[in-house]
């Protein structure tokens, strides 16, 4: 694996509890919204949001690495699902330099 080779992006990772897994925090927030008068609320689930910046050779490689990070550390597959989005995809300094030379 080579670093800094052109695909510098920010990944936005969303981690959510699997269906059926108890979410006491979500329940508490739901109750609180009800008590504020938002009776239309029919369920709240809490999750985590993580941003990871990285720079790799290709989008394919970056996505594979992010998937691995999610499965090994960022999410616990017993109770959590994850998905990710890519923000502001742009050539990194390394690839710009390469293009100029």
């Amino acid at each position: 694996m080579q670093l800094g080779l052109g695909f510098a992006v920010r990944f936005k990772i969303f981690i959510s509890l699997k269906e059926g897994v108890l979410d006491p925090q979500g329940k508490a927030v739901e109750r609180s919204l009800h008590s504020l008068g938002y009776q239309e609320v029919q369920g709240v689930r809490m999750g985590k949001y993580i941003e990871v910046n990285l720079d790799l050779a290709s989008r394919q490689e970056a996505e594979a690495r992010i998937r691995e990070m999610c499965e090994r550390l960022l999410a616990n597959p017993v109770i959590e699902d994850y998905r990710f989005e890519i923000e502001d995809e742009k050539p990194s300094a390394a690839s710009k330099n390469r293009a100029e030379s």
């Binding site: 897994v21 108890l22 006491p24 550390l73 616990n76």
Partner: protein
Amino acid sequence: MRWGVIVFPGSCDDQDVYDCLKHVLGQKVEFVWHRDNLQADFDCLVLPGGFSYGDYLRAGAVARFSPIMRGVVEYASRGGLVVGICNGFQILCEAGLLPGVLTRNASLQFVCRHVYLRLEETDTPFTCAGKKGQVLKLPVKHGEGCYYADPTTLERLRQNRQILFRYVDAKGRTSAAANPNGSLDDIAGVCNEGRNVFGMMPHPEDATEKILGSDDGLKIFSSIAAAGKEREKGARVG
């Protein structure tokens, strides 16, 4: 018998386990820093309670990648005895040495009180000195002790009799009120299929002398000590 107590940054019950083993039970015990290499000739490793790495991300999730854990996984795979208490239980689950996961207490409250546990199985090194159905009184002190496993895993735990302790009332009956954290099936402690790795949320090391309110925790350590003696008669692990 030689015990190792693994110390992570943020462990806080390591001294209690050490004190109980050394001064109450007269065992040979030493601390093992999480960055050190694991010597092979321990007879039992204890992962103590605490808040390793501040419980960041998920309780136990970061400690599970501490350098020592490679050795712990290898030690367990050779049949070595491993006990995780509270945060130690969370770490063993995150490391995949035990099934399931510990999540936020259903009440969202940190619970700190004595609870009653029913000893469910005695054919393990951790419970062999007890009687099936026996009720122990031990303290809990945790915010993330709600045990969860998917339905398939839970069924396998039941079939293999891996659930070693359940939360009960003083008379040994399960109930919502007796369950301090909302754990699935009132599970307080489980072992792996090989019956050499065990985790529990309550703290046996804090119930080792009558003056502490209970000495029922000795049942667990004396089980392990007895099992360790049996093992010493045979070949040493390693």
